[in-house]
Each structure stands twice: as structure tokens, then as C-alpha cells.
């Protein structure tokens, strides 16, 4: 082994031919459209991972999400602020005669940063409105729902993940790739 992966940059992509880390617009677009992400935290060497809705805020270079008022995520982040956050999309499976050449189309972004609890009421309100704007663009505050009130916001915990590094990875092939198929099509009836 020529390089020790443990001392490489945390966002190093081994498959350089699939890395999209340099294409920041592509990374931002995926973070903006992804429906949910997986947040990895750690406590005493034990990793934890959970899935969450989120908002990517380009101006703040941050990801915001929220959980229950108290629980594992908050306890972990208050003790260890290092986090990793990942979003991905899976495309078509790409068969090959050689088993280890079997592949698939995918897009993924991994973010490294530190998490913190947002205590500020105004910042929490701004986040919740952005979350609603992202996930319910067809619904309007004061018409379809009433804006969040402080008492409700206090019942939740809002986190800011300040982005320190990220990486992107992508594989996409020609539309007419022989035998390409979606997993769901073949796995139906399972």
C-alpha cells in the first residue's frame, strides 16, 4: 500500500475518474434537490446514522436540519461536534459479463463539517420557513398553513452543519448502455 488512507484528506475520492468534487455547481444542485440525507454522528467511538429532511443554505455554506427537542442526535452533537452528511441518487444497474465489472449509475455528495444546536429563535424560524419552501413549494404561509410560532419552535432542535469539506462522485453512462435496468423493475415481486 503506497498511501495510508487514514491520513488522506477526509474528502478524498479514490476513484478520481468518478469524482465531481471540483464541480461545485453540480454538488450544490444535488444538495438542493435531494429529498433527504443521512447524518452520521459519533459518540465514544460508536458511529450513529439517521435519515433526515434538510435544507442546504448556499449563502451560509451550511446544512440545516431538525430533530426532536432531545434525543441521541442532540446528545451526540453536543458532546462531539464532528459530523458527516451524505445524499445520493441511484440510477440504472449496468450488467457486465465479468461479475466484478458489474456496476451502476449513481450520484452522491458527502459533506464533512461540525454540527451545532441553533438556539436563536429568529434563525430557527428562518430555517423552518426554508424547509417548508423546499418541501412544500406549492403551499403558502398564511394561506395553506399558519407560520410557526415560538412555542412550537421550542419543541424542536435545529442544527446547523457548517460545511468544511465536501466531495462529489458520479457515474453515468450512455442511455443505450446494453442491458441497463432499474433495480426496482427486477426486484418486483420480492
Amino acid at each position: 500500500m503506497t498511501k495510508d488512507p487514514l491520513v488522506m484528506p477526509i474528502n478524498e475520492v479514490r476513484r478520481a475518474d468518478r469524482a465531481t468534487t471540483e464541480d461545485e455547481e453540480w454538488i450544490k444542485a444535488l444538495l438542493n434537490r435531494a429529498g433527504f440525507g443521512a447524518l452520521a454522528t459519533v459518540f465514544d467511538g460508536q458511529p450513529f446514522i439517521n435519515s433526515n429532511l434538510f435544507v442546504y443554505d448556499e449563502a451560509d455554506h451550511a446544512i440545516y436540519l431538525h430533530t426532536a427537542k432531545f434525543g441521541r442526535t442532540r446528545a451526540n452533537i453536543e458532546t462531539y461536534d464532528r459530523v458527516c452528511f451524505s445524499v445520493s441518487e441511484m440510477g440504472r444497474m449496468l450488467p457486465a459479463g465479468e461479475a466484478l465489472e458489474f456496476s451502476l449509475e449513481y450520484s452522491g455528495v458527502t459533506v464533512f463539517g461540525h454540527g451545532e444546536v441553533i438556539d436563536d429563535m429568529e434563525a430557527s424560524k428562518v430555517f423552518l420557513q426554508k424547509l417548508l419552501n423546499k418541501y412544500a413549494p406549492h403551499l403558502k404561509p398564511n394561506e395553506d398553513y399558519r407560520p410557526p410560532v415560538e412555542e412550537e419552535i421550542r419543541r424542536t432542535t435545529v442544527y446547523k452543519i457548517s460545511i468544511e469539506a465536501w466531495s462529489g462522485k458520479r457515474k453515468k453512462v450512455a442511455d443505450d448502455f446494453p442491458g441497463a435496468y432499474l433495480y426496482e423493475q427486477m426486484a418486483n415481486g420480492r
Binding site: M1, K3, D4, P5, L6, M8, I10, R14, R33, G35, F36, A38, A40, T41, V42, G45, Q46, P47, F48, I49, N50, S51, L53, A68, F70, R72, A75, Y80, R82, V83, C84, S86, S88, M90, M93, P95, G97, E98, A99, L100, F102, L104, Y106, G108, T110, L128, Y135, A136, H138, D144, Y145, R146, P147, P148, E152, I153, Y183, M186, A187, R190
Partner: protein, 187 residues
């Protein structure tokens, strides 16, 4: 804060009315879902990796593979504790009060110990199980050549021995008023 949440069992689900205790449901979910996210840690830094995987009930284990060398292998060789999650979201469920705004979802979180599968015959068995899951219509010996030993040496195969798991689910009535799906495709 009334409780020390960090001291609770790692599979503790705070929102008990959404916890799934049904092992058969958890197993079926792990069998059918196409991808999961593996969390490893090194020196207090967590890493999350999306990957294909196969759940093997008789082994009480999850298997996956990556490149021969890289961050995942190095992390696991240094620290075997991992967490793995599989999840999907369903419809969004609007409410007048935004705090009640909700989403349908299903998710399983697995805690376990990861180890490298070194034995070549065992690595081959795992590769065929992966292909059996992802390419059920393609047959060994017909659509796939035998796997050369050299190829097996070029990949890292991991066994995640399942120690415990938890699951959560939220599903609304089919006619929930205003329910909709969120999906934005790449342009």
C-alpha cells in the same frame, strides 16, 4: 434536560409510536431495499458511505464491498464499530400547523461490528449473493463468467455482524388530504 440521552441504549427510539418492533418487517425491508448508508468513524470523525449491500438472514449479517484500499477499509481495520441505515421517504403530509407537517417514511438502523472477509471462497459467495440480489434475471454461467481469483483479490468485502437494530415507520391513510410526493430529477 431530564434524561441523559447519550446514556440510553443506542437503539432507543424517542418517538415510540413510530417504532417498529416487528423483526419480520425489518428483515423484509433489509432484503428489498437497494442501497444503504454505512457510518464508520476514525478519531472522532464520522464518515458516511452509500453502498449496495446484501442482507443475509442466516448469517445475521450485512455484506458489502468496496475498492481494495481506501477510507472505508482503513477505518474499519482501525475501529470495527459501525452503524448502517436503510431508509426511504414516502408522501409529504401537510397540516395547518407547520409543526405538525410530516412525511411518510420507513427506516432501519443497524448497529454492529464490521470485519474484512479475507477467505477467497467466502468472498466469492458474497459476490454471488450480491449479484443474486441486484441481478436476479441474470444467471451465473450464462450471463456471468466465473469470477477469477485475481478479481476477488482486487476488492474488499465486509461482513457487518448485526448486534442490534431499530426501525421506524410513519404511514398515513391513502386518502390523506393534500398528501404529495417530493421528487426533483436531475436536469
Amino acid at each position: 434536560m431530564s434524561k441523559d440521552y447519550a446514556a440510553l441504549p443506542r437503539t432507543q427510539i424517542r418517538y415510540m409510536n413510530r417504532a417498529v418492533e416487528d423483526d419480520a418487517w425489518i428483515k423484509a425491508f433489509l432484503h428489498k431495499m437497494p442501497n444503504g448508508v454505512l457510518a464508520t468513524a476514525h478519531d472522532g470523525q464520522p464518515f458516511a458511505l452509500n453502498n449496495l449491500f446484501v442482507y443475509v438472514e442466516t448469517d445475521n449479517a450485512i455484506y458489502m464491498h468496496t475498492a481494495q484500499v481506501g477510507r472505508t477499509r482503513a477505518n474499519i481495520e482501525a475501529a470495527e464499530q459501525v452503524c448502517f441505515t436503510v431508509s426511504r421517504i414516502g408522501r409529504f403530509l401537510p397540516y395547518r400547523k407547520p409543526v405538525d407537517f410530516d412525511v411518510e417514511y420507513e427506516s432501519v438502523v443497524v448497529f454492529g461490528q464490521a470485519s474484512l472477509v479475507e477467505d477467497l471462497a467466502e468472498k466469492e459467495r458474497v459476490m454471488w449473493m450480491l449479484l443474486g440480489k441486484y441481478a436476479p434475471h441474470l444467471k451465473r454461467g450464462v450471463d456471468f463468467d466465473p469470477i477469477p481469483m485475481e478479481d476477488l483479490k482486487r476488492t474488499s468485502v465486509y461482513r457487518i455482524k448485526i448486534e442490534e437494530w431499530s426501525a421506524k415507520r410513519n404511514e398515513a391513510e391513502p386518502d390523506f388530504p393534500g398528501a404529495y410526493t417530493y421528487q426533483i430529477d436531475e436536469e
